[in-house]
Amino acid sequence: MEFFRIRKDIPFMKYALVLNAVSFITFALAVFFLLTRGLHLSVEFTGGTVMEVAYQQTADIGKVRDKVASLGYSDVVVQNFGTSRDVMIRLPVQKGVTSAQQSEQVLGALQAENPDVTLRRTEFVGPQVGEELVHGGLMALAMVVLGIVIYLAFRFEWKFGVAAVIANLHDVVIILGFFAFFQWEFSLAVLAGVLAVLGYSVNESVVIFDRIREAFRKFRKLSTHEVIDHAITSTMSRTIITHASTEAMVLSMFFFGGPSLHYFALALTIGILFGIYSSVFVAAAIAMWLGVKREDLVKAPVRKEGDPNDPNSGAVV
């Protein structure tokens, strides 16, 4: 079996402008939705109480909502969680009432109506914890970006580092845009997923950059955009197969992982799809705009083949 039988290098870079415009529009839309709709942050970030209760039969969400509202809570979210029998209730932080009192009060009220209802899970987060999580998340993001730029600048060239980070931050913003647009719940697990995607799509860009460097060295006569086209074309097969395999795993989580992993898998799926797009079309194009030249990567044109001290020696065939 062999899926990819590409005779000629596909001239991706000819369309670089169009492709970059597409990603710029997607990016702008994502930012727009993030600003106008905002993220639907989970209780871990906002503080408050979440309860998950299970009924024996299909639960009547409307009734549950009325019941909880009658206890004097405003801004309560009641929704199905996983199956139609499981209900998730989200209560805001209330001054003077502890979470224990809150959850007991609500469970008591629900049990008065239907004795079958059982408590599956409660979660209470104080407001101070949420702030720290946001801070920690942003710090992690900054460190990832910085670390990757430094590493790529050291291994390749600063232009690649910057290109990879811009391309992949654009993935992150687009994932966040999806979460804002659909108002999917953004939890800590999703945050972990988003940051993992950042590493994962940089990984993707690195594979292509590696080929670009190798092609620069091998084909002296080709222009920069021909080299990039060649690099993308020759990694095409690997790109698709790898991502299909990773996606198989992520889909397995999506279908079997239950509600807790649902949004995590969703974030990864979007991340993987846009990760391919951005590293193939955006990262390489940005590196091209930044003016990557053969001389940037092939430092000494005349040197001994297979010099063991040369960090790039392995790429020489």
């Binding site: 101070q128 992690a140 590493g199 084909f219 197969i241 395999s245 996606e247 807790s260 992993l261 790429a315």
Partner: protein
């Protein structure tokens, strides 16, 4: 060219063996067990307890397949939950004589079913997180400001007494937040007060500010080192108190951990009754000092031969000795700022040293002056039940707020008494800032979901790889299996806590690890397409792919490490597995899979073809393209 030296194979074999040994315990599952641990710091669980448990079980003819003293607890393993429940009753009856004041905690638990030889090798199963086994998690924040204010208050009192003793006249001492302010009229007094603070109060640092026209203000603040010490002590004391209280709940493996400077995490696996747990955690024990009634009626009541006189109450001490004390409360725990074990400077006897605040010292001075030769009792109230901690005789008037209790105490007793006295008041109030409860059914569901995601994802990848890359696909799949094995082994060795996000990270690690094998296999195909001989293609494929794999994995690792450094809770658990997964994947996908390839193909001198699926070659020279040009180079 594709041969590994023996030592490389040796590394592979050793890694596999270690991997298998450390992963194995996770597959034996858990057996119902009964765990006996100590409920009091004075009670030790040792071989004698083990013997008692053994005889009790034998008498009830309950078969255990494993009974041992592990650390500070005795664990007995049973076949069925039914036996477990029966055994719990039997052991409880055998060990606990006084049901109202149990010396041991007999709790139901789950222990690994893994055989002894694995345990002897140090191979233990991973610890399941609360989201997988069910239970309660609390994060408590200690109010350090309150602890510091309390400390400043007590220092202000001490300073007042000391100034009076040294005859330094001052215009008043006040506490403003955490600073103590002393008003003085002239320069000389200022100097004197300043020197006194420098000499006698190592915890304070003083600075003077002019106070308008009529004098000076000396501002004393707690030194940063002392601040840290106060905070550490407050945290430690709160943790000790929590430990004592949680023991009552009979939880088999409670986790009480410090997190950061001012937080405590409490995890109670298997506990479902949050309300009760919270009630116990949040309860404050109170301490009262009362006078002992030493009239003859009270004596007879103490012996149990007469009624308790009017206006008095009867309390027992820890040895069951009763004591009649007056109802009137002299002092409460609020006035007690510290209790520490120590030694008498003259007799070298163990002592308990109490420190009282300013108000407490005044009252104490008056009471002791009027009651020399009589006894006073210090009573700890918890759960509305009072217990006499100690009842010393007053030898002389005690001023200055420093009280020493001595006489017929061992060092251990002095330690316990001071611990109990300190427990009478939590060092600083605590607040629950995070809490979650996971029902046991949800925990079991989560395990199944996690396992299903990993297994089905892996099956899908394996089937595809084998079909697409043939023998090389099979090798890649085996390498992937080895990756999972090593990942599990390392997590078990680290005794990491496995959570649902951890399982998700494992799934993702597998999905990403296959990338390395795809890179290698694609490279080999490319070399073959370019016309290289099979052996040369394998060699070049691995060589070229390695550099890409290294670069891409290091970038992913950077992301993982950043998550590890700045993440908390869920994110951290995810990051640990993610990082380890990257490292193991480099070993399995490159080093191990090359070993397999070398073993399979490397020894054949005249290798005609390798089974890596169909390798398509562009036909004809008219269509020579850049792509093919690259490969024929």
């Amino acid at each position: 060219m594709n041969r590994y030296p023996v030592w490389k194979y040796a590394i592979i074999v050793i890694a596999l063996l270690v991997g298998v040994v450390y992963t194995l315990p996770n597959f034996f599952g858990e057996a119902p067990a009964v765990q006996v641990s100590s409920a009091k710091s004075t009670v030790k669980v040792d071989d004698a307890v083990l013997q008692k448990v053994q005889t009790a079980l034998q008498a009830a003819s309950l078969p255990t397949d494993h009974l041992a003293l592990e650390g500070t607890s005795v664990r007995a393993r049973f076949d069925t939950p039914d036996d477990q429940l029966k055994a719990k009753d039997v052991i409880q009856r055998a060990l606990i004589t006084d049901a109202t004041d149990p010396a041991y905690i007999v709790a139901l638990n789950l222990v690994s079913r893994s055989p002894d030889w694995l345990t002897a090798l140090g191979a233990k199963p991973m610890y399941l997180g609360l989201d997988l086994r069910g239970g309660v998690h609390f994060m408590l924040q200690v109010d350090m400001q309150a602890a510091l204010t309390k400390k400043a208050e007590s220092l202000a009192g001490d300073l007042r007494t000391m100034l009076r003793d040294k005859n330094i006249r001052h215009g008043g001492i006040s506490r403003d937040g955490q600073t103590v302010e002393v008003r003085v009229r002239d320069q000389a007094t200022l100097m004197a007060a300043r020197n006194l603070i420098a000499d006698q109060f190592p915890d304070l640092q003083a600075s003077d500010v002019p106070d308008g026209s009529d004098g000076f203000v000396l501002r004393a603040t707690i030194k940063p080192e002392a601040l840290r010490k106060v905070q550490e002590q407050a945290l430690k004391q709160n943790m000790t108190t929590l430990h004592n209280r949680i023991n009552e709940l009979g939880v088999a493996e409670p986790v009480i951990q410090q997190q950061g400077l001012d937080r405590i995490v409490v995890q109670l696996p298997g506990v479902q009754d949050t309300a009760k747990a919270k009630d116990i955690l949040g309860r404050t024990a109170t301490l009262e000092v009362r006078m002992v009634d030493e009239s003859s009626e009270a004596r007879s009541a103490e012996m149990g031969s007469g009624p308790v006189p009017f206006g008095t109450e009867k309390y027992n001490d820890r040895n069951g000795q009763s004591l009649i004390v007056k109802k009137q409360v002299v002092l409460t725990g609020e006035n007690l700022t510290d209790a520490q074990p120590g030694f008498d400077s003259q007799t070298q006897e163990p002592t308990v040293n109490l420190t009282l605040d300013a108000k407490g010292s005044r009252i104490f001075k008056d009471v002791t002056r009027e009651n020399v030769g009589k006894r006073m009792a210090i009573i700890l109230f918890e759960k509305g039940k009072g217990e006499v901690v100690t009842a010393p005789v007053i030898r002389s008037e005690i001023g200055g707020g420093r009280v020493q209790i001595s006489g017929r105490m061992t060092t251990v007793e002095a330690n316990d008494t001071s611990l109990l006295l300190r427990a009478g008041s939590l060092a600083a109030p605590m607040e629950i800032i995070e809490e979650y409860t996971i029902g046991p059914s949800l925990g079991a569901d989560n395990i199944n979901r996690g396992i299903h995601s990993v297994v089905w994802g892996m099956v899908a990848i394996a089937v595809f790889m084998c079909l697409y890359y043939m023998v090389f696909g099979v090798i890649s799949t085996i390498a992937l299996g080895v990756n999972v094995l090593l990942l599990l082994a390392i997590l078990s060795m680290l005794q990491a806590t496995l959570t649902l996000p951890g399982i998700a990270a494992m799934a993702l690690a597998i999905g990403v690890a296959i990338d390395s094998n795809v890179l290698i296999n694609e490279r080999i195909r490319e070399e073959l397409r370019g016309g290289a001989s099979p052996q040369a293609a394998i060699q070049a494929g691995y060589e070229n792919a390695w550099h890409t794999i290294l670069d891409s994995n290091v970038t992913t690792l950077i992301a993982g490490l950043a998550l590890l450094a700045f993440g908390t809770g869920v994110v951290r658990g995810f990051a640990v597995v993610h990082c380890i997964g990257i490292v193991t994947s480099m070993f399995s996908a490159v080093f191990f899979s090359r070993g397999l390839v070398n073993l399979w193909y490397g020894r054949r001198k005249k290798l005609k073809s390798v089974s890596i699926g169909q390798v398509w070659k562009p036909e004809g020279d008219d269509h020579r393209s850049v792509a093919s040009r690259g490969n024929s180079n």
